[in-house]
Amino acid sequence: MKVSMSWLKFGLLLAGALCSTFGANSVIAQEWADLKMTFVYDGKAPAAKPVDASKDPLCLEDGNKIVTENMVVNATNGGIRYIALSLDVKDASKLKIHPDLAKASADKVLLDNVKCVFVPHVVVMRSGQTLEVKNSDKTGHNANFGFFKNQAQNVTVPSGASKDLKIEKEETAPTPVECNIHPWMKGYVIVKDHPYVGVSDENGALVIKGLPAGEELKFRVWHENQNKAISEVTINGKKEKWDRGYVTMTLKPGENNLGTIKLAPERFK
């Protein structure tokens, strides 16, 4: 009995050593991929709706006009802004992360209040980072975070002030942040254990850099105004099913451009 136990231990040690060697090798051999795509609204771009902010004149100083941000579509090229694509992994500690991105930046992640809107509208950060809620306006704001796994917060941010919040845990879904003083103000915070989240810009272009190439990766697409999950897309003219907003792909090293992804108007509310 004793003998067999020690043999077993030896075997385990050996296996462990082998694994770690190969593991180290594979890190060295690991190649990285960049993922690019452009989301386009397949129809006439809906115009942003103006917001009645007349109750707080400070929001309207210098002829500032506030419009809704829940459906921002570029009028010239149809690009959809604020679509988020994030890597979906159960355990980020087992994920291969590009050495440059391995550690979360020590810098604070900024969520600013500018002219009575949240900037950026969708904040992306990693768990363990600090979120700096800043108020660049003359008026007072508050930021009400409906976190699920982290502690929900609702802080007042006076004009010119800022407030730091340490966000410890990953959030499965994007967390809404509201300013209750200005009911139109709504933004989102995406907190992940890994750096692989992309948000589309004003042209609908979305980039995620430094992804591990050569292995199957699962992503989830999200837009705040989606009508249920975005489960059907048209990639370069070809219809594809993204079940419940999930898409799985294996990337080749270097740039991977999916091209133009058209989303039908019925994908949105």
């Binding site: 707080d56 159960k90 007072g140 508050n142 930021a143 007042t156 006076p158 407030k163 209750n180 003083i181």
Partner: protein, 544 residues
């Protein structure tokens, strides 16, 4: 039979058996062991057997008998035509009784499941089923509460509540000769807060604000930090004194009804049970969230359920813990729960169960650690100095209207609560906004209402001029509301020094407290305010 039985009753003039009212008399199975077949017990046994054992035949016979007797009696009133009606009425009335007593169950959190389904865009029936099975195994039923005995949580549990006292608040309402009350939660709380503590009791729709849903673990009025759980004292205080401006009554009479001057811990038992419901509900909620977002966990949960056919585990555990038989007749009122609740060992093997344990430990540590989260609120020295206090009120007014605290943005310049916000609390947002539904959109609300969500009611900033403070009217209460905000509501925490250099100092907050507490008097004109009070009423537009 009846006459024999009554004869037996009148014949026995002394105490037949010493019945302590807790576990004895109403349980024939127990009685049998004490005084077998005494006429008294036998009569009760027969009666109960007739009521519940052979229900259909018994009631049918009784109804037929009534149908035969009544018309003959009523013959003299020319009411023969009423005969069928009597028969029908008797059958209808008695068929209601034949339901006897069926053990109630906790309601699954359908609204939260609805939210998770919206978030994941997937039917979560299986996840909900698995989670409900585990939660039932770990926490029991409304009549037979349980508490999972997990080594890591023993210390936290002991500091939080008395598990064995859970029987006091659980089960149907009853009391005994020593004036020990049982089923306190159903006597005092459940009509509004619901049997599950989901804030959805029968009367819920009529109340404004809605009765609190304990399950998310959010509590508004407490001495602790926002996001922390309240202390036992916080809960006790709310229950004892009620909440002005709401339908929450004061239960001080329960505390003082002690008869034989022994320590009366009824309200403590209620606090225990509220914590129990909250912990149970939060474990259900968090676990459902985990399982819905992790298919691996769901597989483990499914495997667990196929191992244990539904209900078997529960029955086994409850029968051992309550030491009562589970036959149908004794089921009727064995739920007196006089037997103290004992923490039950639970099986923790699969990843699903390990996750459940993690969640439970996490939830419990939040509750057990609440005492450390109490916000210190020490009255400043000037508070009781009239001259300085009057100064502070004037200072507080400037702070109230100023941009840093921004009170007037919502509460209005004169405190009337008519600032510019139309908003909802987190309990309403949980199943609406966070499920992608606009609360004001009546058509979009339909699926939310269908799963049992209460119609979202806008939350309005408090009218401070009334002087009604829901969370307590001590200066320290108002102070805590200001520095921590009110959890689950749009009321934010004020920016404070030194954390925030632009924020208020502690003393400034106290000045604000002084001003807020003076608003009622200010409006009433008892203390002359700066400017004309009446005209200020009309200029309530927000001007930050």
């Amino acid at each position: 039979m009846l006459s024999c039985w009554f004869f037996a009753q009148t014949a026995g003039l002394g105490p037949v058996a010493e019945i302590d009212g807790s576990a004895g008399a109403q349980n024939p199975a127990n009685l049998g062991a004490k005084t077998p077949l005494h006429p008294f017990d036998f009569g009760q046994y027969l009666f109960k057997w007739a009521l519940c054992g052979v229900r259909p035949q018994f009631w049918r016979t009784l109804a037929l008998a009534e149908g035969w007797v009544m018309p003959r009696l009523l013959n003299g009133f020319r009411a023969k035509r009423l005969a069928p009606m009597f028969g029908f009425a008797a059958v209808a009335a008695l068929s209601v009784l034949s339901g006897c007593y069926s053990e109630p169950h906790f309601e699954p959190n359908a609204v939260f499941r609805f939210r998770v389904e919206a978030e994941t865009d997937q039917d979560q029936a299986k996840a909900a089923e698995a989670v409900n099975a585990l939660v039932a195994d770990w926490f029991g039923t409304p009549d037979r509460p349980q508490w999972p005995a997990i080594a890591e949580t023993t210390a936290a549990t002991d500091s939080l509540l008395q598990v064995e006292r859970l029987n006091r608040a659980a089960g149907p309402q009853r009391s005994d000769r020593e004036d020990n009350h049982y089923g306190l939660y159903r006597e005092l709380c459940s009509n509004c807060h619901g049997l599950t503590g989901n804030g959805r009791g029968p009367t819920a729709m009529f109340l404004d604000p809605y009765p609190r849903d304990f399950r998310p673990g959010w509590f508004k009025y407490k001495s602790t930090k926002r996001g922390s759980r309240p202390t036992r004292d916080d809960l006790y205080r709310l229950i004892k004194h009620g909440i002005p401006g709401t339908s929450m009554p004061a239960f001080a009479a329960i505390e003082s009804h002690e008869h034989d001057k022994k320590k009366n811990d009824d309200l403590d038992a209620v606090v225990d049970y509220v914590i129990y419901l909250s912990v149970r509900g939060e474990v259900e909620r968090l676990l459902l969230y985990e399982v819905a977002n992790d298919e691996g966990l769901l597989e483990g949960a499914r495997a667990r359920m196929s191992d244990q056919p539904a209900g078997s585990a529960t029955t086994e555990v409850s029968s051992s813990s309550q030491a009562t038989s589970t036959t149908e007749t004794s089921n009727v009122s064995t739920a007196s729960n006089a037997a103290p609740v004992v923490a039950q060992p639970v099986v923790i093997e699969s990843t699903f169960e390990i996750k459940a344990k993690e969640v439970f430990v996490d939830v419990l540590s939040k509750w057990a650690g609440s005492q450390e989260q109490v916000v210190n609120a020490q009255l400043p020295a000037w508070w009781n100095e009239p001259a300085e206090h009057a100064d502070a009120i004037a200072q507080g007014r400037a702070i109230y209207l100023g941009a840093t605290a921004a009170c007037a943005n919502c509460h209005g310049k004169s405190g009337g609560g008519n600032g510019l916000v139309r908003d909802y609390d987190d309990w309403a947002k949980d199943g609406t906004v966070r499920a992608g539904i606009e609360p004001a959109d009546r058509a979009a609300l339909k699926p939310y209402l269908a799963v049992g969500g209460l119609k979202p009611v806008p939350i309005s900033p408090r009218d401070l001029r009334l002087g009604i403070y829901r969370g307590g009217s001590e200066p320290a209460d108002i102070y805590r509301r200001i520095v921590q905000g009110i959890e689950g509501t749009p009321m934010p925490a004020v920016a404070l020094k030194p954390d925030n250099p632009q924020g208020l100092s502690e003393d400034e907050v106290w000045q604000l407290v002084a001003y807020v507490m003076n608003m009622k008097a200010e409006v009433a004109g008892a203390i002359p305010a700066e400017g004309d009070v009446a005209s200020r009423e009309n200029v309530d537009e927000v001007q930050p």
